[in-house]
């Protein structure tokens, strides 16, 4: 595999496609021109004008398998609220930024969300999709490709020391789900007022065994007022915020399966305006903006599975 191809995979998720060249019209109709295909099919797809990367079933199996993103009605199992359980993998991408991931989506309807999720975190992900999802997957990839280039460092309000344990992973899952912005650390960082190291007296392992309550404890330590990001109007949107202090890019992933109108967002920082890009809609203006007291608030008229907001 060439360095160029490796870079391509790292830059955007790749659709894993095992159907033959006869499926070309469907892919072209969806605007899909980049594929991961079995090695023995590389040549035929390349000759057809596609940018291809060889990925065998064995390659896919070696990647960290990710669940199909979305929501399930597990309210009450791990949350004291009525919010549905979100199946999301952003925390896995944060935990292993150089990791290789694979989605095998057996049922239709999840490809666009998986592609959005992986794109938002810049994850190296291969996505095996149902043929019925080709149009929506193509549209999502086209949307991602249309975004203005902007590479900014992630924003974090606290650190989480990762000991590699499942319990630390589950804590990160719940923290990410609640839009508590953290950075995964190898050791306690002086950059943060709050450093979560599970197994220490401040964060006993027994407490972390209830990840929802554990996330609430950390939320209380941060205080909602001091959090860099708040999302109102939905319990099923997970955000990723990046910023260099002057500009910010906010990724909003909607796991609920339904469009959300009037989502309200508060971002701390010196921002006074911006633009939003919504999958399926394109560029839209921010609504009901309020910039004051070191933060900006705005609403989005509608978001589908994925939206990106650039603040300045």
């Amino acid at each position: 595999m060439t360095a160029a191809v490796l870079a391509l995979i790292a830059a955007a998720p790749c659709i894993y496609w095992t159907q033959g060249i006869e499926s070309r019209p469907a892919l072209e109709s969806a605007g899909i021109k980049r594929l991961c295909v079995p090695p023995d099919q590389m040549e035929v797809w390349r000759k057809a004008g596609f940018t291809v990367t060889a990925v065998s079933d064995a390659d896919l199996a070696q990647r960290e398998a990710l669940p199909a993103p979305g929501i399930t009605s597990r309210a009450g199992v791990a949350s004291p609220t009525r919010a549905p359980w979100i199946i999301a993998s952003g925390w896995r991408f944060m935990r292993e930024p150089a990791g290789k991931f694979g989605y095998v989506l057996a049922a239709p309807g999840k490809a666009a969300l998986a592609l959005a999720e992986a794109s938002a975190y810049g994850a190296d992900a291969v996505v095996k999709i149902d043929a019925g999802d080709v149009p929506s997957a193509g549209a999502m990839l086209a949307f991602v490709d249309s975004l203005p280039p902007l590479d900014l460092p992630p924003v974090a309000d606290f650190g989480v020391v990762d000991d590699g344990s499942p319990i630390a992973g589950e804590a990160m899952n719940l923290l990410a789900r609640r839009n508590l912005l953290f950075e995964v650390e190898k050791a306690v960082s002086p950059r943060f007022r709050v450093n979560v190291a599970i197994g220490t007296p401040a964060y006993p392992r027994e407490e972390a065994a209830d990840p929802s309550a554990f996330a609430q404890k950390i939320r209380a330590q941060l205080t909602d007022e001091q959090r860099s990001l708040r999302v109102y109007g939905s319990e099923v949107v997970i955000a990723r915020l990046t910023s260099d202090g002057r500009r910010a890019r906010l990724h909003l992933i909607n796991y609920g399966g339904r469009d959300i109108e009037g989502l309200r967002v508060r971002v701390r920082g010196p921002y006074h305006g911006g633009d939003a890009y919504v999958a399926g809609t394109g560029k839209v203006a921010l609504q009901d903006q309020v910039a004051a007291d070191g933060a900006i608030e705005f609403s989005l008229p509608k978001i589908s599975a994925y939206a990106v907001v650039d603040l300045r």
Binding site: T81, G262, L263, D288
Partner: protein, 396 residues
């Protein structure tokens, strides 16, 4: 919005809290009129850029005063059908008695001018058996039109459009009256009908969405509101009447206040009702007691718990009417051998077991908070003390 305007917003917030005599961070207090307020209350933050009117609509010009018009003929209990002519007469007599006006038109003129944009807050939650009666809503619209208010300035509203579609008030009011809702359905996906800058913020159960926003219709369009609730039992508040209908029917994201057996409705209902501009603009309370629900409320998908108070109450004080309502619901429950709405015993509690609650009126799924009415009184929304409430009863 520019920074200066936002700062004003914050200043107005502080002012409105102060004006209401509230210290929302306080944990336990005795109100100026001696009401004992519980000590286990969540912190509630109010954000509104609206100042109260010189004379807020609640409790309005008639604090502690309720006119109850009764009629055995107002509803056929065998068919659950209201008698339109009788209801009109009940409405006319009730409005005249409340205001002291000699004509019905003058009574309505006491509250409204042709320049007003009027919202009629109905209750669709008890569809199909106990919703704000078409006959009351229809007569209300007729009287507003008779005052010269253009039809385009009259709104019948609820929170959910699917409920409004079920109830179909449009078929019972003059053409051109706008029947509207803030959300298509109770799915928490549609916030555009709410004012992002007028809200109550509270973290009640660890939810991430900590805001309940006022409907844009209420904050930006309406100048006056008529509240038409029903006489219903409610699993979280004990009873749902004027306060609950206007508060939880005008704000988003309120179901979050009661779950897993616990209800924060005790303080949230009154706090929402007291928020500006809702408090100032809600000028008339017409309690529809033609039908009632004594258990399983606020829903009434079956007639199992339906009863017939056969009355309509008129007033401007939502607390006084709701204080009477608490006894009406509780007495009906007692008549059926059911536990009181004040029951807080763990033995009655079957958390989240809606089927058990629907099957057995001695089951609570949440510890009810009928004390929300008293709490609302402590916010200045009206008179709670039965000894100070003057009820004028009329019979048609």
């Amino acid at each position: 919005m520019h920074r200066r305007a936002f700062v004003r917003l914050l200043a107005a917030t502080a002012a409105s809290v102060k004006a209401a005599g509230l210290n929302l961070a306080a944990k336990g207090r005795i109100s100026p009129d001696g009401l004992q307020i519980r000590s286990d209350l969540p912190t509630l933050k109010i954000v509104s850029r609206y100042s109260p009117a010189a004379a807020p609509g609640m409790p309005g010009p008639f604090p502690g005063r309720v006119v109850a018009v009764k009629s055995d003929r107002c509803v056929d209990t065998t068919t659950n059908t209201a008698n339109d002519q009788v209801v009109r007469e009940m409405m006319a007599q009730g409005m005249r008695a409340l205001t002291g006006a000699t004509t019905t038109a003058d009574a309505w003129r006491r509250f409204f001018t042709p320049a007003d944009v009027v919202g009629i807050k109905v209750n669709c939650g008890g569809y199909p058996n106990c919703i704000s009666a078409y006959e009351i809503v229809g007569e209300t619209v007729r009287q507003l039109l008779a005052l010269g208010i253009p039809v385009s300035q009259i709104y019948v509203y609820e929170r959910y459009q699917n409920q409004m579609d079920e109830c179909n008030y449009a078929a019972h009011v003059a053409e051109g009256v706008q029947t509207v809702a803030a959300e298509r359905a109770n799915r928490n996906t549609d916030n555009s009908g709410y004012d992002p800058e007028t809200y109550l913020e509270a973290n009640l159960f660890g939810e991430e969405d900590t805001r309940s926003n006022m409907m844009r219709l209420v904050s930006t369009r309406l100048t006056k509101i008529i509240n038409i609730p029903n006489m219903k039992d409610h699993g979280a508040t004990g009873a749902t009447g004027c306060l609950k209908n206007i508060a939880y029917g005008s704000f988003s994201n309120v179901a979050r206040t009661h779950q897993r057996g616990k209800s924060h409705t005790y303080s949230v209902v009154g706090t929402l009702a007291a928020m500006e501009p809702l408090r100032s603009r809600t000028v008339l309370q017409i309690m529809d007691g033609i039908r009632g629900v004594w258990h399983g409320g606020p829903f009434a998908r079956t007639t199992k718990y339906l009863f017939y108070p056969k009355q309509i109450m008129f007033g401007t004080d939502p607390v006084a009417i709701d204080r009477l309502l608490l006894d009406i619901i509780d007495n009906e429950r007692k008549a059926h051998g059911a536990i009181s709405i004040w029951d807080r015993s763990p033995s009655s509690l079957r958390i989240d077991d809606g089927r058990a609650r629907d099957a057995d009126p001695n089951v609570n799924i949440i510890i009810r908070e009928p004390g929300h009415v008293e709490y609302a009184a402590s916010l200045g929304l009206g008179v709670y003390d039965l000894a100070k409430i003057k009820v004028q009863e009329l019979t048609v």
